[in-house]
Symmetry: C2
Subunit: 434 residues, 2 copies
């Protein structure tokens, strides 16, 4: 029962049971997991510290450690998301569309689980909880391939999920965990057993998976995010939004990396921002125009493509909003980009033409997140456009089925001398056979 | 201007113009194309006959010829779909979701075009018209790789689309056509320039594309469709539904290939069906149980996996609805499967557990089609579950963008002594900046 194939078969089998659970049954499990986590904070943090100590010995980067280390705040966020998830409507068996094709012939489009979802993650242990509960609520079974970086933490979290499931009389086989290095390659070959693969891993591993996987994949996108500060802005607001976007959680994917400033506001805005950021010891780099205003380091071309994940900010000055949009569309990782302006028309233009998953006006880039968007967490933040874009909540983990109910209807009747004609009338009707 | 890369660059450029067209502008082009096709029926049919003659010389199969040859009926269907498409709502710039995250902080999920879509097709020339207009209405530009089989037809249809676009003052560069054999491989490498690839080709070419493409792909699925005739059915209805599903258009992907019959009704139903099908010269094959009732050919194991696309039908007898569902889930291509029964609970079970894109109760399998479903046509019928399933209309050709409007909101305010709390209230509000 230890090979990837064996585990996948047992997960596939359990997926049928999970897809048939009622919303109430699924919510009971989610609440039971939340309770277990809340009651096991000390044990979780202590296992997590083992991972952190090992990671320090292995010289993990500061940003990496920041993601690996659990805190009471992170657990609070996790519990908050779970509470919200348990209060959300069932995404499954929803009638997404209903159409009368003709008298006595009705079409329904109804939501369904994808089936079995594979998740590959490395040093963010809470991914296991977030993603498995999103999978559960959307009726899917799930197999995780955890990284060695968070080995201790992932195992205690995984056990808590299985224990809670059993206590709720739900088969614990709906969630599985493998962690050997060779298991990853085995997962990539399982097109028969996996309906979707989610990756939350380094760029290197992402590339390996992209090159080999025959299964549909949603990749965690890079987070090279921008804020454009327009000349017509509330300077006070701009300083606060930039400070929050850069400093509140610099290791996060939605944190600000490059600031784009309109030339007409640079001399007023930049010194005030520098004063504020220097309190947080943010290292600043600027282009030639910025250096005329601030005595900071010179940015090189590489900086416009750099995701620092740290207290570092590159700054460029532009001539116009069009130049700002141009810079952002060239360098953004298409994750999250924001604008600070008082001008509605410029905001409209920016949000229309910046081709990123999330675009924000007059607020911190950090709001771009599944919990904060009210999705009950996110399984992944996709910077692709296919299937799901941006923070992927339950809606990204479902498919649908077309169901037609007739009373003996024939297509030949539409090709006779006096043919029947389709009405295609939208009817606001729930699929009657659930 | 003749290389694939050059054409793609010009299509990418035009895609920006197409994404900005109003619904009215797009509908004007659709109507102009419809008018041109209606007025050019003779020229189109005459070009099509050249393809048919060449295909006959090249010994194309009867089913292949049936798909290649245009008829007045096929043109009527095409025009009907275009008329419907032109009357449909714009799928772009629709607010799919709106949430108040907190006071003064609103989230909108808004639909957007995917960008540039590549379409590979072979011997169904009207694909060019169907798919290009679905792309246009969903704000996408499109490049076609046509097969040599429909060379003459595709060129006249392509010219009509470009002419109609120019007459409507829309850049004709939004649609491109390449047809050299080596162009296909070039398209597969264009992850920078193509957002989606749609394939409507033979299984062999599909496999080649699957193995090589780095772009998201929606494949035309195989059409191995079943009808299950339950013991509690209206026999008269069952005979008519099976006849229609098999004979009205046997070359179609949604045509019936294998009939699954409950043992208790076999002796009553099968002779009546045979009498009806023999009028259409349908060749019948059956398993041992069927042969006890009908003097027909013996089906081999291969027949359960065969997509005949012709006047051939394999028949199997089962002990129960569970056996029927088992047979279908094992052999179906997951395109379309139907049930004929009077029993609502059995219909419910069948439609829940048969894991196919379309499941139908008491009607012909041929209804499973984009026109007939009221989607204004389909770009492809996907038997996968990712992004879009079954007949893919405009909704499968769009993505979305998350847009947040704030007034200086900071995430730090949610981590202070008296933290702000998210409200996540669904608001039924259109994105205000369109």
């Amino acid at each position: 029962m230890n090979s990837v194939t064996d585990k996948l078969q047992s997960v596939r089998h359990a997926s049928r049971a999970v897809s048939a659970l009622s919303c109430e049954e699924k919510d009971t499990v989610i609440k039971a997991v939340a309770k277990k986590i809340d009651h096991s904070r000390d044990a979780i943090l202590s296992e997590n510290q083992k991972d952190v100590e090992l990671a320090k010995k292995a010289k993990m980067s500061k940003a990496g450690l920041h993601l690996l280390e659990l805190t009471q705040n992170k657990i609070n966020d996790l519990l908050y998301g779970m509470q919200e998830l348990a209060s959300m409507e069932d995404p499954i068996h929803q009638t997404l569309k209903s159409v009368e094709l003709n008298e006595g012939l009705e079409l329904y489009c109804v939501s369904y689980p994808l089936g079995v979802i594979g998740v590959v993650f490395e040093n963010i242990p809470e991914v296991l909880i977030q993603v498995c509960l999103l999978c559960l609520k959307s009726g899917n079974a799930v197999i995780f391939k955890g990284g060695k970086e968070s080995m201790h933490t992932q195992h205690i979290l995984f056990s808590l999920v299985q224990e809670a499931s059993e206590e709720c009389k739900v088969t614990k086989e709906w969630v599985a965990l493998v962690d050997a290095k060779q298991d990853l390659k085995k997962l990539l070959d399982q097109q028969e057993h996996l309906d979707l693969l989610i990756t939350r891993v380094s760029q290197k591993t992402t590339k390996l998976i992209s090159d080999r996987a025959k299964i549909p994949v949603l990749h965690q996108g890079r987070g090279l995010c921008h804020v454009y500060v327009d000349d017509e802005c509330d300077v006070d607001m701009a300083v606060k939004v930039c400070y929050d976007s850069k400093c509140q959680n610099p290791a996060a994917g939605n944190a600000l990396e490059t600031l784009v400033v309109h030339k007409a506001i640079a001399a007023t805005f930049l010194p005030r921002l520098r004063d504020m950021l220097s309190m947080a010891n943010v290292r600043l780099l600027g282009d030639d125009a910025v250096l005329k205003v601030l005595g900071i380091e010179h940015a090189t071309h590489k900086d416009w493509g750099a995701e620092y994940n740290d207290l570092v900010l590159s700054i460029t000055i532009v001539e116009s909003i069009d130049d700002a949009i141009g810079h952002i569309n060239q360098y953004s990782s298409k994750h999250t980009d924001g604008i600070v302006t008082k001008d509605k028309h410029k905001a409209k233009k920016f949000m229309q033409h910046v081709d990123s998953a999330s675009v924000l006006w007059n607020c911190s880039t950090l709001f771009s997140d599944g919990y904060r968007y009210g999705l009950g967490g996110d399984a992944v933040v996709s910077t692709g456009k296919f299937h799901a874009r941006g923070p992927v909540g339950m809606e990204g983990l479902v498919t649908y089925k077309w169901k037609v109910i007739g009373n003996g209807n024939l297509v030949s009747d539409y090709y006779v001398e006096e043919p029947k004609k389709f009405t295609h009338k939208m009817i606001d009707k729930r699929y009657p056979l659930e």
